[in-house]
């Protein structure tokens, strides 16, 4: 396949069947390999879409500074595009994210401002909103509330899945900014409303939830509960167990958040088997495992991996 430039090659990722982990011929799992995007994650879609929307409405011009709260992947995707198009990029990143993500951001020329580990991404969002207020000349694309994030999946991810798997019955994706699930959910509500949309939400350790007041929580502005049908909370132990199964059984080397997504997909598969219904369950492989090797998730016992991930933003 030939493209005029790297950004033109975003999307159109393979959908591959899980020959071993699918429970039966009637209930099958399909992995959407988003690690095949240019910087190796699904976030290339959202980043490119948000930048192109901001260019189209005149917010982004060469020389402008982009500010974004990110735990890594979105920053890396933005950095790749920003460098090519002459934008300065500042990422606000929780300090408890893996070293590889920092190294990659720096390599692509982004500047990093660290936010406190306690509170996780909520803190990064708070710090970034404060910086945006202090620097009105900076542009915050703000993936948690930018409709162009969800649109990337409405225009790309979802129709690609429907074209490759016309009999799709379920879509399972990770819940972070909610962009993937909102875009895919909206597409299927309009084009194939019987498809059930399943969210897998990472459940972190105590440090991340901190002493957050229950009246001051954070729900991304993009989130619309009516576009999803089930939501699973997945802890690090199950995520690591599944990510290892994916390597052992299918040869797919994925990041830890994909383990959480697969856990929810397998829970859905079990329900379908028990109900005696046919199911074609498409799930997202959000990225490869490369950026998380230093976390300890891929070696030692499950207990050791679980301990190693305590306090880390592993997804």
């Amino acid at each position: 396949m030939r493209f005029d430039s790297l950004v033109d090659s975003v999307g159109h990722t393979p959908l591959v069947g899980l020959a071993t982990l699918s429970p039966s011929d009637d209930v099958r799992l399909w992995a959407k390999l988003e690690d095949r995007n240019p910087t190796g994650s699904i976030k290339d879609r959202a980043a490119l879409s948000m930048i192109e929307a901001a260019e189209a409405d005149g917010t982004l011009r060469p020389g402008v500074t982009i500010l974004e709260p990110t735990s890594g992947n979105t920053g890396i995707s933005l950095a790749m595009v920003a460098r090519q198009r002459g934008y300065r990029l500042i990422c606000v990143m929780p300090e408890n994210t893996s070293v590889e993500r920092r190294q990659l951001l720096t390599m692509f020329g982004a500047e990093i401002i660290s936010s406190p580990a306690a509170g996780g991404s909520n803190e990064a969002v708070r710090v970034a909103k404060g910086l945006a207020a202090e620097h009105p000349d900076w542009t915050m694309l703000y993936q948690y509330g930018n409709p162009a994030n969800a649109d990337a999946h409405y225009r790309g991810t979802a129709p690609e899945i429907l074209a490759d798997l016309p009999g799709v019955t379920h879509f399972v994706g990770g819940l972070g900014t909610t962009g993937t699930l909102m875009g895919v959910g909206r597409f299927f509500r309009e084009h194939k409303p019987e498809v059930r949309i399943v969210a897998a939400e990472p459940r972190y350790g105590e440090l991340v939830y901190g002493l957050r007041n229950l009246d001051e929580g954070f729900v991304p502005e993009l989130y619309d509960e009516s576009l999803i049908d089930a939501r699973f909370s997945v802890g690090p132990r199950d995520a690591v167990r599944r990510v290892r199964e994916l390597i052992d059984a299918e040869g797919i080397f994925a990041g830890i958040s994909t383990g959480a997504i697969l856990h929810a997909a397998l829970a859905q598969a079990k329900k379908s088997v028990e109900a005696g219904e046919r199911a074609d369950i498409a799930f997202v492989v959000a990225d490869g495992g490369w950026k998380y090797l230093s976390t300890g998730a891929y070696e030692g016992t499950l207990d050791e991996a679980e301990d190693a991930l305590e306090g880390q933003l592993w997804a």
Binding site: S41, I42, K43, T70, S71, G72, N73, T74, G119, G120, S121, N122, V125, Q143, Y144, G174, L175, G176, T177, T178, A199, E201, P202, R203, Y204, E206, V208, Y209, G210, L211, R212, N213, L214, D215, E216, G217, F218, V219, P220, E225, I228, D229, A230, R231, F232, S233, V234, G255, S257, A267, A286, D287, A315
Partner: protein, 91 residues
């Protein structure tokens, strides 16, 4: 009986316990039983007849907002997790 995991912010109500036992066949009944033993906790979880916006409750890892809300069944031996809403996922 179900095991209910309590987030840090609500542990003053449970004498610092991270998890407590509660009886009841639905989430609503579990919360009433929690209130009977840990007075004041119900008001922190519910706003009238609904779960508060920034509180998430999971029964065996499934968000009750998609499984029948407060009338979601809680089987004997189930795990109920209460968490504040935070940003998650690989962003």
């Amino acid at each position: 009986m179900a095991e209910v995991r309590i987030p840090t912010i609500l542990r003053p109500y449970t004498d610092g316990e991270r998890a407590v036992s509660a009886a009841g066949g639905t989430v609503a009944a579990i919360i009433d039983d929690l209130e009977a033993n840990h007075e004041g906790i119900k008001e922190r979880l519910l706003d009238g007849d609904d779960v508060r916006r920034f509180v998430n409750i999971y029964v065996d890892d499934e968000d009750i907002r998609f499984t029948g809300g407060l009338s979601t069944e809680v089987a004997d031996g189930a795990t109920v997790v209460i968490l504040p809403a935070v940003a998650g996922g690989s962003r």
